[in-house]
Symmetry: C2
Subunit: 196 residues, 2 copies
């Protein structure tokens, strides 16, 4: 049940609309899209993910804030954004997360940059890293050993999101500025596996 056959074959599918509640101009996507403008869209205001997972980005060419998009319906911007304080309402590029593997995901968090200092190895979801024994609100470097993860600024999977894949940068994120191109802080208070 964790890996339906179609998704295991990598048949990703996402449908996007220009307006909220699945209204207006619409297009289906089966593979990565570096810029929605190239597909004639000015904006994206609602999304259905039929086969995922995907990651959306604030700017073209996979830049800026990241938004995890798992199977389901997203009728408006706040359904995918966890950061209403910095409200851009942009989602201008997206791509499938091919290495997600919910049942075999491992990640190591480090207290100091470049994989130094105290470390913490995880293979489960942690809505509060502090409750589970991590002594700080910050994480300085991260190594993804398998699967794909999403780390969040606040507890309970809120705030800025950082999608961390085994297949990108060899799974190595030696400092917080590599968590995303738009990471302003090394605050990481929750982390979870991405579900295929």
């Amino acid at each position: 049940m964790t890996s339906p056959p179609m998704e295991a074959l990598g048949q990703f599918k996402l449908t996007a609309w220009e307006e909220e509640n699945f209204q207006g101009k619409r297009s289906e996507f089966l593979q990565e899209c570096p810029s929605i403008m190239d597909r004639g869209f000015r904006k994206i205001r609602s999304i259905k993910v039929e086969n995922g997972p995907w990651v959306g980005f604030e700017y073209p060419e996979y830049q800026g804030q990241q938004f995890i998009l798992e199977k389901g319906d997203y009728p408006r911007w706040e359904a995918w954004s966890g950061n209403s304080g910095y409200r851009t309402e942009h989602l201008l590029s997206f791509r499938p997360i091919k290495c997600a593997n919910h049942s075999d995901s491992k990640v190591t968090l480090y207290e100091v940059e470049n994989f130094q200092g105290r470390k913490f190895e995880l293979s489960d979801d942690f809505p509060s890293l502090q409750a589970m024994g991590w002594g700080s609100k910050e994480v300085a470097s991260i190594k993804v050993n398998s699967g794909a993860w999403v780390a969040y600024q606040y507890p309970g999977y809120r705030g800025y999101q950082y999608v961390l894949e085994r297949d990108r940068q060899n799974g190595e994120f030696p400092k917080y500025t590599e968590f995303s191109t738009q990471a302003h802080t090394n605050q990481v208070q929750s982390i979870r596996r991405i579900q295929h």
Copy 2:
């Protein structure tokens, strides 16, 4: 590591401030608070949970929207609210979640009210119920067999939150209007255990 001794003894602790970023009037809470006005607060704009979990409510007497509060820092409203569309910025009562048990949590979802129809038994976190095989965006009734859970309107733990405890209503939520006093919809697209 899943249940630090202090928290296992139920020594809950939450500190609240009237302004963002832990500024202004401040108070510590060790037990439930049915109305922050009774403690001389007009509003709460930031929170630190030292020992949790807690659940916050939009209105006094544990009414209205619910917000899960696990150990960690919440410097502003959007750190705990998952629903920026309906932006009340109220958190007027809160209480500890005493039956949370991350390592022994079981819940059953039902397709039809009053625990009828197709069912789905869970003991793990599910960021997308549809990806895991639930055929719909809706859940009509829920039975909590053990522990405490938080169900969400959208995938990826976004949108309206419903805190569902074994110790409340005998763990039985026979229709969506009992998920919370403010439930407007039976949409439930993700669910997870609450961490002690």
